[in-house]
């Protein structure tokens, strides 16, 4: 006779990058139901926004997440620029695209290492993170910080990248592309990895649509939804098509992210080739007033910012909805029916960023 038991998975678990508790109702080795419990890194950042002025919030918002930080700052600055009708110079838009895509490469490489770590492939984890070190070096040389770039501000960007540095970026990306070509077969063609990921955590396109999944989780089921196609910043001039797969399982999500890595490298190369010259910053005068919604595409999906301002230098309300928040309901749909040993692989395949979720 099978027995039901409740296994608390997390919050401290070696495989999760951030604390998330999943209470799994198990029958022998199979998971029947999962209940998430978050709240371990809630910092109350939405309340802190009422105490700082709207220019300082660009720094605060960057620190919501340690992996997708630049794009948080970019979305916020785009929202405030929309409210105050500020025209960002074209060079600043291209620089934002370059930093945003380099950030996406770093995030996907980090995720690739964590996914390999989740089924015990630690050697691959080290290789992926070693390749990522070259990307972090690019970010440190161009912006000053390895992950917290601090370059996006309301009205443009704070630092410029000169011709010589752009050449260095291109050379480093060529090296990263070569390293990637060497290691990517370790995840896409390896027999053991395929055994652990093909057919695991399968969802259909209909489930992804009703539960509001975003990012690579939705793209892996065939929904071609990527906010970069709307053409914010300089994406409209660079030409961009979202990558989709149809299987909807962990393997499909891996392939989507791997192909997005190569696509990001191409986007950076195109942006560097076409970058116009000119100023990088428009001065900001006055205070914002009104309400607006700003959205962008983070490595994990679509991020949503609601900004309400009342004419003073403090904002009245800043609401952030990050993509992992939208992907948790679909995680609860993927877990029933899987084995206990598949739970870390499935959870990591949605790329959870819990500090984004809880702010």
């Amino acid at each position: 006779m099978s027995r039901k038991s409740i296994v608390p998975f997390g919050p401290q678990h070696p495989v999760f990058p951030e604390p998330l508790q999943l209470r799994l109702v198990m029958e022998d080795e199979k998971v029947i139901e999962a209940l998430p419990a978050i709240g371990y890194v809630h910092r109350g950042l939405e309340k802190l926004v009422e105490k700082k002025d709207f220019l300082q919030i660009a720094f605060l918002v960057e620190r919501i997440c340690g992996i997708c930080s630049f794009i948080h700052a970019q979305t916020y600055c785009q929202g405030i620029e929309d409210l105050m009708k500020i025209d960002v110079p074209p060079r600043a838009k291209y620089l934002r695209v370059i930093w945003g895509e380099v950030h996406r490469i770093h995030s996907h490489l980090l995720w690739l290492g964590l996914l390999a770590d989740s089924f015990g492939f630690e050697n691959y984890f080290m290789q992926a993170w070693r390749t990522r070190e070259a990307i972090l070096d690019i970010m440190e040389r161009t912006a000053g910080g390895r992950v917290m770039l601090g370059t996006c501000c309301v009205g443009g960007v704070r630092k410029d990248i000169n011709e010589q540095m752009l050449g260095e970026v291109l050379r480093t990306l060529d090296k990263v592309q070569k390293d990637l070509d060497n290691i990517i077969v370790g995840v896409t063609k390896d027999y053991s990895v395929r055994q652990r990921t093909v057919g695991v955590g399968k969802v259909t396109a209909e489930q992804a649509q009703t539960l509001g999944a975003v990012g690579p989780v939705a793209k892996a089921t065939g929904i071609a939804r990527d906010h970069r196609t709307t053409g914010y910043a300089a994406y409209g001039e660079l030409g961009f098509e979202p990558i989709t797969e149809t299987a909807g399982d962990c393997y499909a999500r891996t392939i989507v992210r791997v192909r997005e890595l190569s696509q990001s490298i191409d986007l950076v190369r195109k942006a560097i080739k076409n970058i116009p010259s000119g100023p990088i910053f428009t001065a900001v005068k006055g205070n914002p007033e009104g309400e607006t919604i700003s959205r962008a595409e983070q490595p994990r999906g679509e991020v949503f910012y609601y900004i309400k301002a009342n004419g003073t230098k403090n904002l009245e309300r800043l609401r952030v909805r990050t993509p992992t928040f939208a992907n948790i309901p679909i995680l609860l749909m993927m877990l029933p029916g899987c084995d206990l040993s598949d739970v870390p692989v499935i959870t990591l395949s949605i790329d959870p960023c819990i500090s984004c979720t809880e702010r």
């Binding site: 209940l35 309340k47 509001g212 309400e291 607006t292 919604i293 309300r317 909805r321 948790i328 309901p329």
Partner: protein, 131 residues
């Protein structure tokens, strides 16, 4: 003002949201703003990169029916609003009863305007001193 927004009242909420489902909209999130006397609650839906919003005003102390029977994804954000603003949401599919994001001893409804402070170092010190 937000473009493409419809003003509704609490009584029509479930009917309006039910009418959206066959049009193919995806639930994005909901936002709660404390405007002094009442809460301004906005639901956001998206189809083909266009947002459609439903705005309603809720008096403080009023109760809000949950839309999680229609959009399961809404239950996380409704639990969060219950914790952070103290809005009374009824009929949730999974109810965390005020412990979704906040733990014991945290401030009660921290993002609503008059907020009760929680257990902090000063409060504990006062307790030790016998105040």
């Amino acid at each position: 003002m937000l473009p493409n927004t419809k003003e509704i009242v609490v009584e029509n909420l479930l009917a309006e949201v039910g009418a959206i489902v066959p049009q193919g909209y995806r639930f994005v999130t909901m936002t709660c703003v404390d405007v002094g006397e009442q809460f301004d609650i906005i639901y956001h839906f998206d189809k083909n990169y266009n947002l459609y919003n439903l705005r309603l005003k809720l008096a403080k102390g009023g109760s809000l029916p949950s839309i999680s029977p229609i959009f399961f994804a809404a239950l996380l954000v409704e639990n969060e609003i219950k914790d952070l603003f103290g809005v009374n949401v009824t009929g949730l599919a999974i109810d965390y009863e005020g412990r979704f994001l906040l733990s014991e001893g945290a401030p009660v409804a921290p993002q609503s305007k008059p907020c009760t402070p929680g257990v902090g170092m000063q409060v504990q010190q006062k307790k030790l001193e016998g105040n």
